[in-house]
């Protein structure tokens, strides 16, 4: 089935840092940092493009959930896009993981297996998305020039999620090209 996709991203980080200075009772010096980034991906397989998305919400057990990208599977079961077509990512332009848990200790460890998608360097390296935490990767470059993760079947195409405790609820969004 032929498809087209457009993607937009907006990220804002703002800090308002005030200080109390003796002798300045009539004012409050402050430093405001506002970082705003907007970006879009057109439909396609090139730089600044993407053509498919997989998104889901589920709980992560201590035993873990294994997501394969080539082709898309969750715990070895095939998953399709919303139109029922198999997804086989070969470039990843965006990864978002959001841990909805508010319980201390219910972090989600991400990656940490030999077949991990390119995110951090070592087979045993992980990042923990803690309760209320976010992991956001944006890589609009072209896979052919190694400017975004390029998963390969059986090699570097897995995203492993493992709970530190309990069953935290996570949202996950994967945007890429096939």
């Amino acid at each position: 089935m032929a498809k087209t996709m457009t993607t937009s991203m907006e990220l804002k980080i703002k800090t308002n840092y005030t200080k109390v200075v003796e002798g300045t009772e009539l004012s409050t010096p402050r430093e405001v940092m506002s970082k705003v980034i907007s970006d879009t991906l057109a439909s396609g397989e090139l730089i600044d493009q993407a053509e498919n998305v997989w998104h889901d919400q589920f709980t992560v057990p201590v035993g873990g959930v294994t997501i394969d990208l080539v082709p898309m599977q969750v715990d070895a079961g095939a998953v399709d896009d919303v139109f029922g077509d198999q997804i086989t990512f070969d470039q990843i332009k965006c990864l978002l993981i959001h841990n909805h848990s508010v319980t201390s200790g219910e972090y989600v460890g991400v990656f940490g297996v030999a077949q991990s998608m390119e995110f951090i360097s070592g087979d045993t390296d992980t990042i923990r998305v803690h309760p209320g935490g976010i992991l956001f990767l944006w890589a609009p470059g072209l896979g052919g020039t190694n400017d975004c993760p390029t998963p390969g079947a059986g090699a570097n195409d897995q995203i492993e999620l493992v709970s530190g405790a309990g069953t935290p609820l996570v949202d996950i969004v994967i945007i890429g090209c096939e």
Partner: protein, 176 residues
């Protein structure tokens, strides 16, 4: 000198996926994932009280940012950075040319934002590609712990790409 920090984050990600194979309609799936969060002033859950931000160029070199009792890094008020916990790391690669990436990590005495089960031999490295962003947000009480001299250095490195990379970095944390 008393300071007070208020931090906010908004992430909005939207995809519109359309099928073009149906003659009399255009089936589409619109996904909008919006996250907003704030950190009040303090050192507890959902709080932070120290921020460091910078925009710089790293030309085929490395740069270390010591976030605990730093002798070289200062906050916007000129106070030495002293973080005990990290709540947010944001890194944006402003370059757009192919191959001009910047790496974060790769040193033994890094805070445990990235973990390794073999920390004595393997220092995790994350690559931010041209136009790329890394954002990690951790509002928990514990944050990512910073340990003086053994876990307080965030290293940036462009020697792998050999490029001169413009970047922006924001680190939010707590003083105790």
């Amino acid at each position: 000198m008393a300071t007070s920090l208020a931090s906010s984050l908004t992430v909005i990600l939207k995809t519109t996926l359309k099928s073009t194979g149906v003659d009399l309609s255009v089936p589409e799936d619109v996904m909008t994932k919006a996250i907003t969060d704030i950190l009040a002033d303090g050192v507890a859950l959902d709080q932070a009280d120290v921020v460091y931000h910078d925009k710089a160029t790293l030309n085929n070199n490395t740069r270390t940012i010591d976030v605990h009792t730093s002798a070289t890094e200062e906050d916007p008020w000129g106070l030495a950075i002293t973080m005990a916990k990290i709540k947010c790391v944001f890194l944006h690669n402003l370059n757009t040319a192919a191959g001009e990436y910047i790496e974060l990590g790769g040193v033994a005495n890094a805070p445990v934002v990235f973990t390794s089960s073999a920390p004595a031999a393997e220092f995790p490295i994350h690559t931010v590609h041209p136009g790329g962003i890394l954002l990690v947000w951790n509002p928990s009480l514990a944050g990512w712990a910073v340990a003086n001299n053994t876990g307080d250095v965030l290293e940036l490195d462009t020697t792998g790409s050999g490029a001169s990379v413009d970047y922006e970095i924001v680190i939010i944390g707590t003083s105790t």
